[in-house]
Every structure is written in structure tokens, then in C-alpha cells.
């Protein structure tokens, strides 16, 4: 192992990890928003829109992110829609993640006993108050493990961003392999970088999950 080499190129990895984290975080947050909207549309049984949301979820869940990104980045400009690589990446990640988050939230909502809803209504809470104080806290607690798993999944999926010319961790590693043939060093740093990003996230969510389970409500999924 050439430690000198590794020290020299460490800043490139740090910068690339920053990009992964920034785009990943944006994608995860937007996914939660899209997921919440889809979930709401389906539970409120909004006509037509609910079917659209259902179709979107099926499309996004059954196609690879890489193909979605190729369409956005290489396809759309040909018909006059030019998006920056970063916009494409976040859009693609949100398109994919929104569907997964919608499913996580839906299973959380479904796990709340219907009698809880009735009990809240019987206390004279308005539907909005009931959602806020009674339903959502329980649904979210149940959905947290799935949301956490989705967050880890989405960060992992960012590894294809190099395909649309974003200088992410994969891009840097591939570059170093191609230019200097320092394969071992490049791959080691690549693996360590992803572990550094994902291990804390994964551990944080499993701790949160354990605490929620300890609180004793919500069913295990």
C-alpha cells in the first residue's frame, strides 16, 4: 500500500464524499416530501390523483436508478430539456426514493389500530388534530425502521451518479485506477469512504429503532 499516494488523494475523496452526502441528503429529504404527499393522496382517497400516485410508485420501484438517470441526463436534453448533472441526480434519487418512502409511510399508517382513530374522534378532536396528536406519532414510530433502511439504500444508490459525470466517490476511484493504476489504494479508500458515510447512519437508525421498540408501541415490520 502506498500511504503517500493515499494521503495525497485523500482531499479528493473527502470532497467527493461531501458531494455524495449533499446530494444524498437532498434526495432523502425530497423523497420524504414526495412520499408523504403520495401517502396522503392515497389515504385521503383523492380521486384520479390517487391512481396517478399508485402508478408512479409502481414505475419508480420497478426500474433502476441508472436507467432513470440516463433518461434524464442523456435523453431529455435531446428534446430541449437541459438539466444540470446535480439536478438530474437529485431528481432521479427523489423519483426513486419518493416511491419507497411512500410505501414506508403507508405501512406505518396501516399499522395504527383503527380504534385509535375512533378514540381520537370520540374525544372531539378535529381530523387534523387527530392526525397530528394521535395517528402520525404512532405511524412514524412504526415507519422509522423502514425510513432508515430507505435512507441507507438511497445513499448507496448515489454510487451511480458518476455515470452522469458527477465527481462522486466512484468517479474519483475510477479516475485514480485509470490514471495511476493504484487499484488497491483507490478501492480501499473508496470502501472506507462509503463505510464512513453509511455505518454511522445505519447504527443511528438501529439505535432509534431499538428505543422506539422499547417504548412499546407500533408493530415490528
Amino acid at each position: 500500500m502506498d500511504t503517500e499516494f493515499m494521503r495525497k488523494f485523500l482531499p479528493m475523496y473527502v470532497k467527493a464524499a461531501g458531494l455524495t452526502l449533499r446530494l444524498g441528503a437532498a434526495g432523502i429529504l425530497l423523497s420524504l416530501v414526495v412520499g408523504a404527499v403520495c401517502c396522503w393522496v392515497r389515504f385521503a382517497k383523492v380521486p384520479v390523483v390517487r391512481r396517478v400516485a399508485g402508478a408512479y410508485i409502481e414505475l419508480a420501484r420497478n426500474t433502476p436508478l441508472l436507467v432513470q438517470l440516463f433518461f434524464l441526463y442523456f435523453g431529455l436534453p435531446k428534446v430541449g430539456i437541459k438539466l444540470s448533472a446535480e439536478t438530474c441526480a437529485v431528481t432521479g434519487l427523489t423519483f426513486l426514493g419518493g416511491a419507497y418512502m411512500a410505501e414506508a409511510l403507508r405501512s406505518g399508517m396501516e399499522a395504527v389500530d383503527p380504534v385509535q382513530n375512533e378514540a381520537g374522534l370520540c374525544l372531539g378532536l378535529t381530523p387534523a388534530q387527530n392526525l397530528r396528536f394521535v395517528i402520525l406519532p404512532q405511524a412514524l414510530a412504526t415507519a422509522i425502521p423502514a425510513i432508515g433502511a430507505n435512507a441507507v439504500f438511497l445513499i448507496k444508490e448515489t454510487s451511480v451518479f458518476s455515470a452522469v459525470a458527477l465527481v462522486d466517490l466512484m468517479y474519483v476511484a475510477k479516475d485514480l485506477i485509470g490514471m495511476y493504476y493504484k487499484t488497491d489504494e483507490a478501492l480501499l479508500m473508496l470502501t472506507v469512504a462509503y463505510l464512513a458515510l453509511l455505518l454511522p447512519l445505519s447504527i443511528a437508525f438501529s439505535l432509534l429503532e431499538r428505543r422506539l421498540r422499547h417504548a412499546g408501541f407500533g408493530r415490528a415490520v
Binding site: D113, V115, Q116, E118, A119, G120, L121, C122, L123, G124, L125, T126, Q129, F133, V134, P137, Q138, A141, A215, G216, F217
Partner: protein, 249 residues
């Protein structure tokens, strides 16, 4: 003559075309305790759930203090009608105090400190003063149902609907819950109670309504209903609770 709190006129409810409730009419006076009995599936629970519109009736009228229920603002009506369910309907993510104060603070917009003081006092009256900060899962079934009763009472409802509140309890816990209900009856709370506890029904009821096949088959004072039922259906129903005549041969 006491005021009429609740009046039900020709209430009808169908599920998938089959009638569950057919043309039910009766009224509840202030301070009156009415117990509804009948075999499983006779529509007792559906009747209670129609009153505060957890189920949508298919016909008839329900009047609370003379004003028709339904159509418009169900939230306001539900604030005046308390309900306790068979299964433990406490909110599992809140402690006892949180469960008790949610309705008064959020729905009635009463000051939190005032509500909490009242909640403490009410909890003490049902013997649970030390459970203020317990979570529902730390309580026994009987304790949960007592908390659920207090939660409904803190809304100061015009009347209470109790839907088989002891059906899911172990036998030794039934008594502690029913004692609370008996106390409420003595204090003049207007109640509509669905139960399978016939001895309790006899003790607490001012009037018994026997539902059979979605109709009111018999209605009368508890003494008369339990000891001199007028209809054959009521006699058969009451017999299912008798084990005296059964012998291992």
C-alpha cells in the same frame, strides 16, 4: 320530569344490503342508565357507533338535546358524547396524563394547568393516583379501562356510550371497572351501556333494551326483564347465561 338527552327515531343501518338495525326508536332521559343486551351480532355496538357517527346510519334521526345529529359538525357532537371501547383505546405513545389532557386541552382549548389538576383529582377517585405518568403498556387491563373512563369524563360529556368495556378483561379486573361505572350512575351520569355482564346490567340499569335481529324485541325495567321476560327470544337469551340446570351426567 327529566329532560330528554338523546332521542332516536326510526334508526336504520344496513351492511351490504343486510339490515343490522331496523327501525330503532327510543329516548334517554337525563341521568338515566340504559343497558342494551342481546346476542353477538344483534347490532348493539352498531347502534352505539351510529349515535356518534362512527357509522353512518342509513335512515332515521338522532337528536341530542333536541338538535339533530349528523350532516354538519360531528366534532361538536362528539365533544358532548363520551365513548369507551372494548379494546384498549388509550394512546400508547402518551402517558396517562397525556391521554387525559389531550381532549380538554386540544379540543376544548382549556388551560393546561387547570386540566391537569382536574385530571389528577379524577384519577385519584378511581384509585390510580400513582399512575399519572405511567404509559398504557405499564397498566393492567382494568387500570387501562378506568383511565379510558376518566378520559371520557374529563370532556364533561352530556352522556357516555360504553361499548362492552369489560369484554376483553380478565374476570378479576371486571369488578374494579364496573365499580367506577356504578359510581357514575349514582352521580347521575346519563349512560348507554352495551354489556354481557348480566348481573351488572341488572344492578346498574334503569331500563333494559333487548335487541334481537336488529329490532327492539323487549324493553323494560331490569327487574321485570331479568326475572319475568315477556318474549320467548328474551327467555332463550337469558337462559344462555344459566349453568344451574346443566349437569355432568
Amino acid at each position: 320530569m327529566e329532560k330528554t338527552v338523546l332521542e332516536i327515531r326510526n334508526l336504520t343501518k344496513r351492511f351490504d344490503g343486510a339490515g343490522v338495525l331496523n327501525d330503532i326508536s327510543f329516548s334517554v332521559r337525563e341521568g338515566e342508565v340504559i343497558v342494551i343486551v342481546g346476542a353477538s351480532g344483534c347490532g348493539k355496538s352498531t347502534l352505539l357507533r351510529c349515535i356518534n357517527r362512527l357509522e353512518q346510519p342509513d335512515g332515521g334521526e338522532i337528536l341530542l338535546d333536541g338538535k339533530p345529529v349528523g350532516g354538519g359538525d360531528m366534532v361538536a357532537v362528539r365533544r358532548q358524547i363520551g365513548m369507551v371501547f372494548q379494546s384498549y383505546d388509550l394512546f400508547p405513545h402518551m402517558d396517562v396524563l397525556g391521554n387525559l389532557s389531550l381532549g380538554p386541552v386540544q379540543a376544548l382549548k382549556r388551560p393546561k394547568a387547570e386540566v391537569e389538576a382536574e385530571a389528577k383529582a379524577a384519577l385519584a377517585r378511581v384509585g390510580l393516583a400513582d399512575k399519572l405518568h405511567a404509559l398504557p403498556r405499564q397498566l393492567s387491563g382494568g387500570q387501562k379501562q378506568r383511565v379510558a373512563l376518566v378520559r371520557a369524563l374529563l370532556m364533561h360529556p352530556r352522556m357516555l356510550l360504553l361499548d362492552e368495556i369489560t369484554a376483553a378483561l380478565d374476570p378479576e379486573m371486571v369488578r374494579e371497572v364496573l365499580n367506577v361505572v356504578l359510581d357514575l350512575a349514582r352521580d347521575g351520569m346519563t349512560m348507554l351501556i352495551v354489556t354481557h355482564e348480566m348481573r351488572f346490567a341488572e344492578a346498574v340499569a334503569d331500563r333494559v333494551i333487548f335487541l334481537d335481529g336488529g329490532h327492539i324485541a323487549e324493553e323494560g325495567a331490569p327487574d321485570q326483564f331479568f326475572h319475568h321476560p315477556q318474549t320467548e327470544r328474551a327467555r332463550q337469551f337469558l337462559n344462555t347465561f344459566e349453568f344451574d340446570s346443566i349437569k355432568k351426567s
